[in-house]
Amino acid sequence: MAQSITIEIRRYRPEQEDEPVWQSFEVPCRDEWMVLDGLNYIKDELDGSLSYRWACRMGVCGSCGMVVNGEPVLTCATYLSSFAPGPVRVEPLKGFPVIRDLVVDLQDFVDKLKSVKPWIIRDEERPLSEGEYLQTPDELAAYKQYSMCINCLLCYSACPIYSLEPTFIGPAAIALAQRYNLDSRDQGAEERMDVLSQHEGLWCCTFVGECSEVCPKHVDPAGAIQRYKVAATAEWFKSLLPWGNR
């Protein structure tokens, strides 16, 4: 096992450069270390100015998504030694503006997520006295997969369409819209369809499929989008019928 490994990081310090530059660091390559441990070592011992996001270090918060050797991964879930002898190239997520070093601005995703109304929409709320909305295990199973999304945005980094088309809502947001559409307690599918049926909302997806490949939680956003396309198309044709109108 190699004693140390080179990590090359795409640095970007707006106060001193206009374009990002690569900077190399030698870090110990411990068997149990993740790429995140390497980054933490760099920040603790080598260069305290390195900026990056992380939190839970166990793959549930979605903060530490970065592009490592060309693939978007959670750095807390990727063994450093798997890249031995190296070097390991770490860059910020694609598709988002870089604020500094490995930190990107996520506001576009947040806005798009809000636009699909990721919450239970009811025509009428039940009063508290009537108790909670009951759901069978079958009904739960209908949407559970899509509820596993941790908003890590690896799918957005992997999706070429998101980078090419600024109005594309993106894999995670559509998967989360589906999570609510398929929830038996929700009555807001119609409202969400208005947002998603916009030309660029969902229809620029060409089923590249990379989003599902990189998803660490097996949400399968590509599948969610395709299912939604089928549902939206059926709805569109139904609306042509005179009795299919709202």
Binding site: P14, D105, D111, A142, P160, T167, E210, R227
Partner: protein, 153 residues
């Protein structure tokens, strides 16, 4: 606008409402230009663009069907000339490539069918493998029908 000249969120929202393609200008943020040839940078992307380009093979096949009908309609001589052309070596090589593309289209299309066609049975969903098997069975049946129609007397 706030006092420091920075846009406040409601301003951004109203600009976005007016033009969905609006992106907040921030002079210090780095926005790399997405490369035109992004699709050669990863094998997965290359496979994707090849799959998309098979639509040209599909369109060509439809055109050739039209030519076949046209030649048939023009009479025996036109038909023979067309069929002789089909048998020439350069055309055969070209069609070999196209057949490969058509097969690639079929395989990639059928393999993705289980993603779009999700049938729920209570708690479980119909296994992807079963949906896949069903589609490949349909391919077999369709092939048999086409061959029977063309070759059968």
């Amino acid at each position: 606008m706030s006092q420091s000249g920075k846009l406040i969120p409601s301003e951004v929202a109203s600009r976005k409402a007016a033009n969905p393609r609006y992106q907040l200008f921030h002079p210090k943020w780095y926005r790399p230009r997405y490369p035109i040839f992004w699709w050669v940078e990863k094998i997965a992307y290359l496979r994707f663009i090849t799959r998309e380009l098979t639509s040209l093979a599909v369109g060509y096949a439809a055109v050739l069907l039209m030519v076949e009908v046209w030649a048939l309609g023009r009479g025996e001589e036109a038909s023979h000339r067309f069929h002789d052309l089909l048998g020439s070596v350069p055309v055969l090589v070209f069609h070999g490539v196209l057949l490969a593309l058509l097969l690639f289209h079929s395989v990639t299309w059928l393999n993705l069918a289980p993603k779009a066609l999700v049938v729920r049975l209570g708690r479980r969903r119909l296994p992807d493998r079963l949906v896949l098997l069903g589609h490949y069975a349909a391919w077999l049946v369709a092939t048999a029908l086409v061959v029977w129609f063309l070759v059968g007397r």
